[in-house]
């Protein structure tokens, strides 16, 4: 393989059609930009969905007779399942404080209630929303000993779970379609460049150029397009991030931190680069193959 010669041919082709090169890079940059920003939005949306999924909880009202040791054992048992994210004990006094805060505008309700009237409770959040039912079942099994009553809105949780799963699946389908569109765009652009040089390909094959010598300059050219387009798209994405972040902050006010991690951003750019270059190589290989079959 004479890489010097192949790079020379690649440079010559690129310099021969500057308008086409600029057009190709701009179209690819636009595609990469859309993919990069969409990927970022997906990641942030996933974080927001995870936040919403973490909100539902199971509340177990404890028997007045439950000793601190029994309550502690119950908490340990729940932690041992490995499903629990947080488990907080709300004492009778804390329950009264909560009740007062919730009914501050209705003094009549407050007069009748004392700390003794309200039971202590355990509020449990799970790592994954689907595990709430298991925890509720575990607590129900303890009814009559430590637990007085278990409150778990299974229907609400189930609806929320279906909703977030639906959003995630839709996002995955959209991402797949976007990647497909990126591949088709890249194939089309590299195919066009190959078509422009079809006579050269035919002559190269007829005068005894090896297959590698015919294919490699086109591959190098498409890699060049992919790299430049990825760099441009990443720059654009980086420049537009403050606006995207501001939009996110408005959309999910107080929900989840929307700070952009440089590692996440570098990851998105890296994946975009790899996908871009890979799709370009495939596209140009297919296109050259069509004309090099002589």
């Amino acid at each position: 393989m004479n890489w010097g010669r192949m790079i020379q041919i690649t440079k010559s082709r690129i310099s021969r059609g500057p308008t086409h090169v600029v057009a190709a890079i701009l179209v690819m940059s636009a595609s990469f930009f859309v993919v990069t920003v969409f990927t970022f939005i997906l990641i942030r949306s996933n974080i927001a969905l995870s936040y919403f999924e973490s909100l539902p909880q199971v509340t177990a009202f404890l028997k007045d007779s439950a000793s601190p040791e029994e309550i502690s054992n119950l908490q340990s048992d729940l932690q041992a399942t490995g499903l629990v994210a947080t488990s907080s004990l709300v004492s009778k006094d804390q329950a009264l404080a909560k009740y007062k805060a919730q009914n501050a505008e209705n003094p009549a309700l407050l007069e009748l209630v004392t700390a003794d009237f309200l039971p202590a409770s355990l509020e449990i959040q799970t790592k994954e929303i689907k595990d709430l039912q298991k925890i509720a079942d575990t607590l129900n099994a303890k009814k009559g000993t430590v637990v007085e009553e278990v409150i778990f809105r299974a229907d609400v949780v189930s609806n929320l779970s279906r909703f977030t799963t639906g959003i995630r699946n839709t996002a995955l389908v959209l991402m797949a379609l976007l990647l497909l569109s990126l591949t088709i765009t890249s194939s089309f652009i590299t195919g066009l460049q190959t078509y422009v040089n079809r006579d050269e390909i035919e002559i190269m094959r007829l005068i005894g150029a090896t297959r590698a010598f015919v294919y490699t300059p086109f591959m190098l050219e498409s890699i060049f397009y992919g790299i430049i387009a990825s760099i441009l798209a990443s720059g654009l994405a980086l420049g537009s991030m403050p606006f995207v972040l501001a939009w996110f902050s408005d959309l999910f006010k107080g929900v989840a931190a929307v700070q952009i991690s440089p590692v996440v951003f570098a990851g998105i750019v890296g994946v975009s680069l790899v996908v871009g270059v890979f799709t370009n190589i495939i596209g140009s290989y297919i296109a050259v193959r069509r004309y090099a079959r002589v």
Binding site: I203, M204, R205, L206, I207, G208, A209
Partner: protein, 231 residues
Amino acid sequence: MIEFLEVSKKYPNGTIALQDVSLHIPDGDFVFMIGPSGAGKSTMLKLLIREEKASSGKLMVDEFDLSKLSADKLPHLRRKVGLIFQDFKLLPSMTVWENIAFALFTRGTNDKEIADTVDEALATVSMSDKAASFPHQLSGGEMQRVAVARAIVGKPSVLLADEPTGNLDGKAAWEIMQILQKINDEGTTVVMATHNADIVRTLPHRVITIEHGKLVADHPTRKVKEEAKSK
């Protein structure tokens, strides 16, 4: 040396382009291939550079058995067989010199050798003064001379010409024939498909006639005819 042994070519659509053609062309021969359009002349040339593969039979070009030639050996065959086309097939974005050098460039020949050999090929076709010109600045005859230079720059043992004078006027056509004759005199086998009756009648070379994919006549060179008569 070129050897056709009961070679047939049938295209996927059912068209039979060649049927049981057997033919021997020794080294250094000059052969005209004539016949009406669609007779199978171009198919024979395409088979010789493995642009097409024979459906049956055996085809040899020097040491290459084309029925068994692997894809990685194909470039080696094509470096032994120079090609000239009716439509020249020059690259418009390259100068005359670059078009010729391109044939060696893609083979990995070093720069010094390319420079020397290209200059030599240009001199052979009397185009040294046009080395820096682009194809669109040349006449048809000049473009064909450049195509000949590109075909011979790699010093092939066989030169295939598909209607090389088809797009040229009489004078330019004869200039090309003189060049091809010179190349043949230096030992290169030349196989030329043509419709030009004047050229075929005037030059004393072997004439093969193809009709409907079959070899219908094989007239020896005038020299061979005269030798046969004198016996």
